[in-house]
Amino acid sequence: MSLFKLKTEDFDFKLFVTALLLSLIGVLLIFSAKHASLNEQNLFLRQLFWLFLSLITAGIIFIIPLRFHEIFSYLYYLLALFLLGALFFIGTTRLGATRWFELGGITFQPSEWAKIATIFALARYITYSKRSFYSVLWIGTVIVMGFVPLLLVLRQPDLGTSLVFLAIVLSMLYWAKVPLLFIFLIFSPLISLVAGFHWLPWGIFFFLLIYLLYRLRPVFLFSIGVLVLNLAFGILTPLLWNRLHDYQKLRVLVFLDPNRDPLGAGYQIIQSKVAIGSGGIWGKGFLHGSQTKLAFLPMQHTDFVFSVVGEEFGLIGSLVFLALFFFLIFRGLSIASKSRNSFNSYVAFGLTSIFAFQGIVNLGMSMGLLPVTGIPFPLVSYGGSSLLMSWVSMGLLLAIHYKWTEY
């Protein structure tokens, strides 16, 4: 295959154009959100510059043979873990969270890289291991591979991004055709963790669990593991929690999420809802969002970028935006299904899942359906690292589509 002669019939123009459209819309939204501000009027230019860099990077990624990534996937993963670990020693702290490396004015967020690296590593492991849903070792390995970066990111602390890793593990198990009830069992301790705060819901949940195990009868070790973990999470959590003082509890919560300021977050959700709702069917028109001008929403160019769509372009614009986003996800899904190479297929599905998860959580947050977690909208939100990594994913998806017949 020639690298430099593009086979137009195998290049996914639909995906490329959709992604480019979303990125350009993002630049416009950032311009609109900040055009009335005093000192951040030029943020959209920075975003445009990053978009340019991102497109070049995506082109390079597109050219690199996918075999290359397959060979180096574990190395990528180890590098990501190393970088996440190194953060604790030489990272830059902002607002109580250590998430960045700073090198001469350029900041780099290793958790963005870790997402992709974890997908590579999991894809490789799942492709080449003897898959057995009943093997505690197999399932354990997949979970540990996902949870090591998850915990490192949680420690930064960055609750939002660590949830992305949970989504990655879930989606990879799903794509590996692990039965849904099994996936449910595997993640049941997390439900215990939440349900454990009150004995009644947890008790009901636990009996349901025992019934499920009785019906499914997975291997003994697996069942015991699930039971023990659920018991531990369900009983220990409230015990430990209740021993804490109120202010200590708050410290734990603030540790998990340094932006946790119930008044601040509540205020932002109201303002976001007012912005979206006041847009109506047709919107107030580009640059005419009043919420924006009055600087009600300080994060309108990053996490709450969708509120600008809702306010200025109304229901029509919002639905078009949603359509573009879901079309992108649909393209990603079809690439994952179509690819004949197992490794590539897993990578495609994993990347698509990240997109879907981040986008949906972000939209739900803007509309007041989900709590504020601080996850940016891929391709659209302001931020160099996020945009660059979104386009690296695009480059990979395009490459996988281009070589879909490759085994």
Partner: protein, 610 residues
């Protein structure tokens, strides 16, 4: 084909359905927000009138060890400014400065530092009297944007000036917000600034709530915002202190005759602080309204330093109170025992070409250790210190922890000073310092320094068998939900003295008060065996500082009192009667008649410490 291939689309289809449902939910939500609730949101957005009204939390109460309320809350009114309702800020500030009796630039600074956005109220003045509120309300057309709200103000005891103990509360500064670990502080949060209010702010503060109000274009409140429940405030936890209210008042009045000094009373069996006074003090009630420049500058520039908590931040030469350190070190080092007598004291001691004088010009004659402590003979301790030597002296002082903080639960405790060989080498250069430095250290003069708290803690350990308990003021925390946290006693370390040594030292202390020639006879109490030590610290700036540290009952002490009075003269005359008063009040529950006490001091005026 490698892997399982993906001709089976079932999983892809499943994902598609899943996403379809989510897309449908999101679209439905958009329809709901942008079509059904459109007019509601459009109205808010056009008028832009969401007002966030903070619901201030009630701070926890502070009670004494017997559950008597010391610090409470009272209703007061706070004035706020809503910037967007004030069209002409300069004019408004002019008018306000007259009504509130505050300077214009001060008000302007307040508005600038408190500015969050045009829609968030800025606190102008707390605890505004009701008259002013009424007159502002009558002419509210003249004061657009000025609103008032009920807020709790702190009510500190009127019976004594408790500024050093409790501190006061005020608005969090930007620096305090940035430095706070928990991110709970916001601009305008009321926090503890000094004293216990600061130390236990986390417990006391509670959590402010928030009301989300919809306001009409004219500023009239239309009611709570439709889809946002108000956040209720959470009351702070109450504190139960180890302080005894009566004893604190007694201590304050005991010191009232003098301009400056400090008093610390401890329970030697657990480190509980029973009373803690520093004079001159200040009344925290005066900060309930606004901390204006004038009052503040007056306090800061006052030459008597009323903001300095002398009990934990004032450093003084420990004087004769540290003779017990020298004696303890010498006993441990087996240089002497309790019966050792040194050569005759004739009022002075010659070393090299320098004369070191005893406080008793005619001399004490031949004394053993017990009598030397009781009569506080300087010459005895000059000689003892010389025998012990600097290294061993500072070894025991450091082992006693006299150069460290005792971690009392008040902010900004200061630690004492114990000079060592390396200290002198740094100060004077290697080998350039003279041996006689230790002679002065032996009687607690020279470079050695301590705080009144330090003396109290040291003596508490001397008389309780050598255990240094962490001094603490907090006894219990009671949360509004009824949970109780008990602040248990904690052992910091042990004195490097054996039980025998401690027995000898204690006997000396008892003799100092109870033998007829002792220096602390003014601390004698009928029916109670009191022990103690006087001290008179040389003060290059004026009269000597008077020390007395006493304890009772001698066989199983329940209270240790350290008294320091600045520039007052002899410890035995000035400080000992005060300690006696506190001890008697605590153990007998009554005050001594003043007349009797004064008669006594005339009779024994001859027997003074250095």
């Amino acid at each position: 084909m490698k892997g399982n291939g993906f001709s089976d689309y079932s999983r892809g289809k499943g994902a598609l359905y899943f996403l379809g449902i989510i897309a449908f939910i999101l679209a439905l939500r958009l329809f709901y927000l942008q079509v059904i609730d459109f007019s509601y949101y459009r109205k808010i957005s056009e008028e832009n009138r969401i007002r966030l009204v903070s619901v201030p939390a009630s701070r926890g109460l502070i009670c004494d060890r017997n559950h008597r309320k010391m610090v409470t809350n009272r209703t007061s009114y706070t004035l706020f400014l809503l910037p967007y309702e004030a069209p002409d800020l300069n004019e408004l500030i002019q008018r306000l400065s007259i009504v509130l009796n505050l300077e214009e630039h001060f008000l302007l600074k307040k508005i600038k530092t408190g500015w969050i956005n045009r829609y968030t109220p800025i606190r102008l003045k707390r605890d505004v009297d009701f008259k002013t509120i009424c007159s502002l309300e009558e002419q509210n057309e003249e004061f657009p944007g000025v609103i008032y709200q009920a807020e709790k103000a702190r009510n500190y005891p009127q019976a004594f000036w408790s500024g050093h103990l409790f501190g006061y509360v005020g608005e969090a500064s930007q620096k305090e917000i940035d430095n706070s670990k928990e991110k709970r502080l916001r601009l305008g949060s009321i926090i503890g600034k000094v004293g216990l209010e600061k130390e236990y702010d986390d417990y006391l503060r509670g959590e402010d709530g928030m009301n989300f109000l919809e306001v009409s274009a004219s500023g009239k409140i239309l009611g709570p915002l439709k889809d946002k429940k108000p956040l209720p405030s959470k009351t702070g936890s109450d504190l139960l202190l180890t302080i005894d209210y009566d004893l604190q008042i007694e201590a304050e009045s005991a010191l009232s005759k003098y301009n400056s000094g400090a008093l610390v009373a401890l329970d030697p069996q657990n480190g509980e602080v029973l009373a803690l006074v520093s004079k001159p003090g200040f009344d925290p009630n005066q900060f309930s309204s606004v901390l204006d420049e004038k009052t503040w500058q007056a306090l800061v520039n006052d030459p008597s330093h009323p903001l300095l908590n002398r009990a934990i931040q004032g450093v003084y030469p420990p004087a004769s109170t540290y003779k017990l350190l020298t004696a303890g070190g010498a006993l441990e080092a087996k240089i002497i025992d309790r019966t050792t007598t040194f050569s005759y004291c004739n009022g002075k001691f010659l070393f090299g070409n320098r004369i070191f004088r005893c406080w008793q010009p005619e001399g004490h004659g031949r004394l053993d250790l017990i009598q030397a402590i009781a009569q506080s003979c300087d010459v005895y301790f000059y000689k003892l210190a010389l025998k012990l030597g600097l290294d061993r002296w500072s070894y025991y002082a450091l082992e006693c922890g006299l150069d460290k903080k005792f971690k009392i639960d008040l902010p900004d405790e200061v630690f004492g000073m114990i000079p060592t060989r390396s200290y002198y080498q740094k100060k004077f250069g290697p080998g350039k310092w003279v041996k006689n430095l230790v002679i002065n250290l032996g009687i607690g003069q020279g470079e050695v320094l301590t705080t009144p708290l330090g003396v109290a803690v040291f003596y508490a350990a001397l008389v309780n068998g050598g255990i240094v308990y962490q001094p603490h003021i907090l006894k219990e925390v009671r949360s509004p939900e009824g949970r109780v946290f008990i602040n248990k006693k904690s052992v910091l370390y042990h004195l490097p003295f054996s039980t025998t040594t401690l027995e000898v030292l204690k006997e000396g202390l008892v003799q100092a008060v109870n033998s007829s020639s002792g220096t602390g006879v003014l601390a004698q109490i009928q029916d109670i065996m009191v022990g103690g030590k006087t001290g008179t610290a040389q003060n290059p700036h004026g009269r000597d500082h008077a020390w007395f540290v006493g304890f009772a009952p001698a066989n199983h002490p329940k209270i240790v009192v350290a008294v320091l009075v600045e520039k007052a003269g002899h410890g035995g005359t000035v400080a000992a009667p005060m300690a006696k008063r506190i001890i008697e009040r605590y153990l007998k529950g009554k005050t001594t008649e003043l007349v009797k006490e004064e008669n006594r001091s005339f009779q024994t005026v001859r027997k003074m410490d250095p």
